[in-house]
Amino acid sequence: MRYLIVGCGRVGSTLAKLLDADGHEVIVVDEDPNAFKRLGQKFKGHVVVGTGIDYDVLKHAGAAQAGGFVAVTNGDNRNVMAALIAQRMFHIKKIVARIYDPTRGMMYRELGIDTVCPTTTGAKMIRDVLMEAPWDTLQSFDFGNVTSLTATVGSSDAGKRVSDFERAGRIRIAAIRTGKSVRVAANDTVLAEGDEINAIVAPEAISEFAQTFAGARIPEKVG
């Protein structure tokens, strides 16, 4: 899948590296050529110098063939504009914009643009750490290249064991939540429909994990 990322700051470059490691075709757009240094030596994707709110720049970057579009420049207004160009002029299927202002983020969601608000999410995560809430603290647990993901068990997977979902060195199920109770997973634990599992996943296995659990999502979900 081809992904276009506008903005090569901390979030943009980290996301680019994650998607690249997962085997996707990644193109990063930024006005400042120096910003691409953040991508490091291992990055195999492409970079385009230019503003992400320009039709011609996005066309040159290959927006017409992109399956996903992410706007993470440091300006909320730029991000929504880039997202609207992606949606209305390139008809890209999946579009995500980072919007710091929660009120406007909600407004833009009505336009069919998925928005991620680090203000709300960040505040909630800090609160959870502060209050020592066990589940959310576990969710934000993320070390280096390995990500902690959560997913809900669907009816077709009910009755399967934890070991049926694990892949050696790539996917490990750590905890299971049934209702309000959380327990550490064992190999022979049987999963029930509606159980929420927390798994530790290697970057190259994220797609595989997402396919297995169609409802999988990254823990930093929209708050």
Binding site: I53, G75, N77, V80, M81, L84, I85, D101, M107
Partner: protein, 138 residues
């Protein structure tokens, strides 16, 4: 008529002056306090509101709900787009926007197909003038 203008640059200040002279009620929103004060001195009238015109609360304070016309004329297309988005969501005012990149016109026009934003691109106006000059018979 009540006109709400976002952006106190040259275009905004001359617009305000002309509209006030014609007897219209005007509020002009400008982010930079210094610029807003200069504008007030120039116009000899208290019509400026200091704040970010891309913030729904600031626009509401400026009288968005009862505005007949909202003009987005900052120098940045993305800011003007957000002003139009907020206007379309919260009021029935006619919306006029300035764009720098003529390619962006389509995006502004797509916001409301029934009651489209009037988009003015100075780049396009100049290009048209050049085109007419070049193609007109001598």
């Amino acid at each position: 008529m009540f006109v709400l203008i976002v952006g106190g640059g040259k275009v905004g200040s001359y617009l305000t002056r002309a509209l006030v002279a014609q007897g219209h009620e005007v509020v002009i929103v400008e982010k930079a306090e210094r610029k807003a004060r200069l504008l007030e001195q120039l116009l000899e009238r208290n019509v400026t509101l200091v704040g970010d015109g891309c913030d729904p609360l600031v626009l509401e304070q400026g009288g968005l709900k009862r505005a007949d016309v909202v003009i987005a004329d900052t120098g940045d297309d993305e800011d003007n787009l957000v002003v139009c988005l907020i206007t379309k969501k919260n009021s029935t005012a006619r919306c006029i926007a300035r764009v720098n990149n003529p390619r962006n016109k389509l995006i502004f026009e797509s916001l409301d197909e029934q009651n489209p934003v009037t988009v003015i691109s100075s780049t396009e106006v100049i290009l048209d003038a050049i085109h007419k000059h070049v193609t007109s018979p001598v």
